[in-house]
């Protein structure tokens, strides 16, 4: 099982949301019949797959660590408009 998200959980989720919107094209708000949490899980999985992390869809410690690192602003997924 994965370790629970440490520290302020809300802040971590907000950081992850911002990160996934910017670099993984996660759309804000609801998308038809998809729950926003499902969308976020999918995007976390995409990010974990890109960075060769354990693909769980969960916002674990390792995933958050990568999200906090300084990086380039170009998205990691296709179609950069």
């Amino acid at each position: 099982f994965t370790k629970p998200v440490p520290g302020d959980e809300t802040q971590s989720w907000l950081l992850a949301e911002r990160y996934l919107r910017r670099y993984y094209r996660m759309q804000p708000g609801l998308l038809g019949t998809s729950k926003s949490s499902d969308v976020m899980t999918e995007k976390i999985r995409a990010m974990q797959s890109f960075f060769k992390l354990e693909v769980t869809g969960n916002l674990d410690d390792n995933t958050l660590q990568v999200m906090k690192k300084s990086r380039c602003g170009v998205p990691d997924v296709a179609e950069y408009n």
Binding site: L53, E54, G73, V74
Partner: protein, 372 residues
């Protein structure tokens, strides 16, 4: 690459530096930008021409927060810079976050390295997921020629090779953990995690995760050399010793212990020993085994001295280590110990030596370590 493999149709690409950061002298910015562009022209037919006015293909600027392209920066840290793929207007333009501290060394953010990365985008490259590539999205500092083979493959896919270039030495691609021929340089425990070193990289294997995490050695420890020969953990002292050539470093957790590196000869090796091939601490006995060429040594951690009667021959000490063709294995790449078993690694094979039976009892592949 970007969708539709966007690229400049002309191999002569113009650039213009529209403003400067106060963090560096103008000439240092010019030099960083120039060298970053030369990095790509070294491996392609691309040539770059500087314009001092008007519209260039690659317009370079420093800005902060919302800086005119509706892709705002975010203040210090986080997002460092961005660039647009080849095209008209904004295409090719490269922006650096002025809220960062730009440097020409390893402190804060090295402008040359970030610029070289961004120009990769400006020329048509996307991100790489090889942590050793320049086009990996996360910043890390490195010395030497910044492109890896992965970067060169990418850019030459768009523009072809440079027929005139002098020999460049690209960094090798990241190792594949499931390569059946995988050999490793060193392995050690670190507070319950296993670190496996190969070339410029290491894998972290955490007991709670099945997927090992691959990282560049120098992005975690910039002071360590690019390649590691051997490593071991002394859990009683809570340190990991890393060996490269005739030097050794000590880690306390992930922090380098001050006062290192030191020479390996302090451990009692003769000056003729120029590198350690493998090292492993046997916690049951308090001894550490070192492997050099065809020999192994036993070091008493408590007294800080080599045990008498060493070195001894690896072949004599660990019978049963044979290659596929039946030849005896007389050298070791890496070693670990657990519960009465010594695991010795040679090329792509792992030899499980039983202290009880005093022989090798099992042979598996090295990448078993990586859950492959």
């Amino acid at each position: 690459l970007f969708p539709r493999k966007l690229k400049w149709q002309n191999t002569l690409v113009t650039f213009r530096i529209t403003n400067y950061t106060p963090d560096l002298k103008k000439e240092d910015v010019d030099k960083a930008i120039h060298n970053a562009l030369m990095t790509w022209s070294a491996v392609t037919p691309l040539k770059f021409k500087r314009l001092h006015e008007g519209i260039a293909d690659i317009m370079i600027s420093f800005g902060r927060l919302e800086h005119g392209d509706h892709n705002p920066f975010d203040g210090p840290e986080g997002l460092l810079a961005h660039a647009y793929p080849p095209g008209e207007g904004l295409g090719g333009d490269t922006h650096f976050d002025e809220d960062e501290t730009w440097t020409k060394d390893s402190h804060a953010y090295n402008l040359f390295l970030v610029a070289a990365h961004e120009f990769g985008h400006a020329l048509g490259m996307g991100h790489s997921n090889d942590p050793g590539s320049l086009m990996y999205p996360v910043y890390s500092y490195s010395h030497g020629f910044p492109l890896s083979e992965d970067d060169i493959k990418g850019i030459q896919e768009l523009y072809g090779p440079n027929p005139d270039h002098e020999k460049v030495k690209p960094k090798p691609e990241a190792p594949d953990k499931c390569d059946p021929e995988l050999s490793i340089d060193a392995v050690t425990e670190l507070r319950g995690e296993k670190l496996i070193f190969k070339d410029r990289y290491f894998w972290r294997v955490h007991p709670q995760f099945t997927e090992p995490e691959l990282t560049l050695i120098q992005s975690t420890w910039p002071q360590l050399p690019k390649k590691v020969n051997a490593a071991y953990e002394n859990p009683e002292k809570d340190i990991v010793i890393i060996f490269s050539g005739i030097r050794m470093w000590a880690l306390n957790g992930y922090t380098l212990v001050p006062g290192y590196p030191k020479y390996i000869h302090r451990l009692g090796f003769p000056k003729s020993v120029r590198k350690i091939d493998a090292a492993v601490h046997i916690y049951d006995t308090g001894k550490t085994l070192f492997f050099t060429d065809e020999d192994y040594w036993s070091y008493n951690e408590q007294t800080g001295t080599m045990d008498p009667g060493y070195p001894k021959s690896i072949m004599d000490g660990f019978p049963g280590m044979q290659e596929r063709d039946g030849d005896e294995v007389d050298e070791v790449d890496a070693a670990t110990y657990k519960n009465g078993y010594l695991y010795l690694y040679h090329e792509n094979l792992q030899y499980e030596y039983s202290y009880n039976k005093r022989k090798v009892v099992r042979i598996t592949r090295t990448n078993d370590l990586l859950n492959c």
